[in-house]
Amino acid sequence: MFGSTKKLGLSKSRRTGPSELTELQVWITSPDSECDDYPSVTSDESYELSVDLPFAVLKAPKVWGALHGLETFSQLLYEDEYGAKSVNATTISDFPRFAHRGILLDSSRHFLPIKVILANLETMAMNKFNVFHWHIVDDQSFPYLSRTFPQLSQQGAYHPYTHVYTPADVKMVIEFARLRGIRVIPEFDTPGHTQSWGKGQKDLLTPCYSGSKPSGTFGPINPILNTTYDFMNQFFKEISTVFPDAYVHLGGDEVDFTCWRSNPDIQQFMEQHRFQTRLQLLDIVTTTNKGYMIWQEVFDNGVKLKPDTLIHVWKGNQEQYQNEMANVTSSGYQTLLSTPWYLNRISYGQDWHGYYKADPQDFKGTEEQKKLVIGGEACLWGEYVDATNLTPRLWPRASAVAERLWSAKDVTDINDAFNRLSMHRCRMVERGIPAEPLFSSYCPREYKGI
C-alpha cells in the first residue's frame, strides 16, 4: 500500500544512457470508464503500472483503478540531494483485498470546518481509502442544514450560521470525494444519539417520566407516534437524494431503554400491541431504496433486517469481536470491522503496531463466511478531537489500517512496514499534511505550517 504492491518484478532496461521518462500514458481498458459515475462497493479498483521507456503505461479497467495507479506512480519517484527526480523501471499489478476501506469522522461532538474535511479526503486518497463515513449529527449538535427541516440545524447546531454544513458544503464534499474515488456514506444515527434532533423537532424524542410526571428530559426517538414515522420518511427521502451513494448508515447503537420504560404511553402501546420484547420497537422504517449499514447492536438485539444489510462491528475485546464477526457472517450478513481501529483512543507509544496486526478475517469461520467481510473502517470519534488536532491524530496511524485493508493478508512484516511507513509519513508531510511522527527521526522536508 504505502510502497509495497503486488510487483511482478523489475523489467528489462533497453536503454544505454540516462534517458528521461517524459510520459505516463493512461489506458482505461473497459468500454465504460465510469468517469461520470459515483464509486460503489462493486467498483473495479485494479490497475497495472509499467514504468518503462519510451513511455510508462498505466492500465486500468475503470477510472478508480487509474486514480490508485497515479498515486502509486507518485510514490515511486525519489529525489537525489540536488532535487532531481528519478524513477526506476518497475512493473506493478495491484488491486485491493477489501472493497470497503473507510474512515469515520464525527462532526457533531465538534464542528469540523470544511477545509479540514477536504484535507483529510485528500490524505485518504493518498492512502487508498475509498469510503468517508460521515457521522454528521449526534446528541451534542446537528450541523446538517436540512432543506426539508431547516429548524433542525437552526435550533440544534452549535451555531446556526457558523457551525453548519449547507447544501453547497455537502455537495462540495461529495464531489471532492468522487474525484478521488471516495464514497461518502452519511450516518444519521437513530433512535439513540439524537438529543440535538429534539431541539428543532418537537415531539420527536420520547419524554422521560419521573413516576407519573414528565421529568423534563428526553430520551431516544419516540417510536410510537405516527408523526415520528412521517418525519423520518420525509427526512430520509431528502437524505437519499442529497447523498448519491447506494448506502446510508442508520446507526442504531447504544439505545438506552430506561426512558422508554418510564413513559406510560410507550408502556401502554406495548401492552396494546402485545409486544413480547421492546426490541421490536427498533423497527427502522425508511422508504429509501438504499442499502443500510447499521451498528452491531441492531443485529445483536435480534431485529429483523434486510438480507443485504451491512453490519458494523465495533464492540468488545479481540475475542469478543472475533466471535461477533463469526456470528454475523454465519447468519449470512455482510460485515465491516472497526473494533480494533478506534483511533480516537490514543495512548503513549507506537500504537500503530496494534492497528497493523488486526485482521478482519481473523475469526473461526468458513471461506464463505470470510467472503462476507467486505472491509473495515478506522474511526476517529470527536469527543476530544477537532480541527486543531484531527489530522496528526488520524495520520499516519490510519495508514496502518489502510495497508491492512488493501494489501495481501501475508504482508505482516512490522519492521519493513516501519521503514516504508516512515517514508510514507514524510511524503504526507511534504504534501502539506501534518501527519505526526512514528518515532525519533527526521524528514528531509519538515512540516512548515505552524
Partner: protein, 485 residues
Amino acid sequence: MNIMFAVSSGRYTRANFILPLLIIIQLGLHTVEGVWPLPQAFTSSTERYPLNPQAFYFGYGKQSAAQQGCSVLDTAFKRYFSLIFPDYSSGSTGLETFSQMVYQDDFGSYFVNKTEIEDFPRFQFRGILLDTSRHYLPVQAILKTLDAMAYSKFNVFHWHIVDDPSFPYQSSTFPDLSSKGAFHPMTHIYTQSDVRRVISYARLQGIRVLPEFDSPGHTKSWGKGQSDLLTPCYRGSTPSGTFGPVNPVLPSTYQFMEKLFKEVSSVFPDSYIHLGGDEVNFSCWKSNPDVRAFMQKMGFGADFTKLEAFYIENIVNITSALNKTSIVWQDVFDYHEKIPEDTVLHIWKGLPEVYQTELSRITKAGKRVLLAAPWYINHISYGQDWRNYYTVQPQNFSGTEEQKKLVIGGEVCMWGEYVDATNLNPRLWPRASAAAERLWSDEKQTSSVDSAFPRLQDFRCKLVRRGIQAEPLYVGHCKHEYQGV
C-alpha cells in the same frame, strides 16, 4: 501592574446557583472568571466599559521608571493591541491578564468589566521543556511555543537542544558537532543567529531561555563530530565498535567540555545552565579496560557511581568558573555527588509517593528543587488528562516550612520521541495551561477541577482565537474555530 476596579470576589460553586447565575449570565458575566491562570486576588463587577479600537491605547504613566524606548514594553504594547482587537491585527504579564478580560459581544464590539487585580506568581520558575533532538523543531515552531507560553504566564523555556539522536546546535568552536551529528547539516540545525533570535524573542515576552547540554549519558550524537569523546565499549578484550557515555578518564574530554561550555555560557545569557546527568548506563564503562584501570587508580573500586560523580563534579566546576548556576536531573543527587550548594535538582522520576519522598530528601539536604515528574505531558492518554496535571500539589511532602520554600517551581516536559511540528501545539495546549495555573495561582483558590473546567475551556478558545492550535478539552465549540488543517 495594578488595574483598579471594584467588585465582589466571585468563587463559583455549582448547585444552588442557577437563578442568580442565570441573571448574571444575562448581564454578561465576563469577569475575571475568563482569566487563566487565576490571579492571586481579584474583585470583579458587572459594570461594563466599551473599548474603542480606534481610541484605546497603552501608555506609560508619568511616574513610571520605564518610558517609551523600553523595548520589552514597546513591543508588548504592539503585540497586545493585536491580541485584544483581533479584527485589527497589524501586527508583559499584566497586559496578558488585561487582554484576557476583554471580550466581544455578538456584534463584535469590545468590552471589559470593572475589575481589580493584584497578582503575582506562587512559584518563580514556571517552565516548559522542548526536545529538539529526537525531532528537529523549526525555529517558527519554537517561537510559536514562546507566544503560547506567555499567554499562560510560563517564564522559562528549557531548551533540551541536543541528545542521542541528533545534535542540531551549530557550535562556532566545534562546527563538526552539528555538521556530523545533526539529522542534516544544513536543514536541521540551529545557527548562532537562530539561537539569538529565540533568546531575544523570548526576552521580549519575559521568558528565560535555559539551555541543557545533557551529559555524560544521552550523548551519542556528540561522538559523530568529536571522535574520542565517547567511551569505546569492549567485548572481551577488543572494542565492539559501539560507544557509550562520555569518556570520563581522558583529559581531552574535560578540555573539550571547557571550551564548549565557555561558548555556551556566552551564547546563552541566562545565569543558569542545565547539565543533565540522567540515565547513565554503566555497562560500557565497565567493559572498557582503560576505564577500569582509572577506577582502580582513583580508588573507586567497582562503584561506578563514584566515577559518574567524579565526572559531574568536574563539569559543574567548569560551569561555576564561568559564573553559571547549575541545574541537574535528580540522578546526580541520588549518586551523592559533591555539588555546589546552589545547584538546583530537577525531579523527574516516579508516581506521587516516589517523588514526594525525593522532594523531602533533597530539600532536607538544603538544596533547591524543580518538580517535573507529574508533568510529563508527552505521556498522552485517552480522556481529560489535564485534570491530573491540575491537581498536582508541589509542596505536599513531609518537610518543614523552610524545606517547602526550596521548591522554586516546576516544569512541563514535552519529550520529543513522538512529537514534532506536526503535533506539538495541540499536544502542548491547553494541557500545559493546567500546570500553568498550578504554578502561578494560589492552591486554595484553585482546588476545584470542576470550577477550572469552564474557565480552561474558555481560555482554550482564546488561545485558538490567537492562532495557537490548542486542542479541545471535551465536546463543545468555540465561537471562532481553528480554520487550518
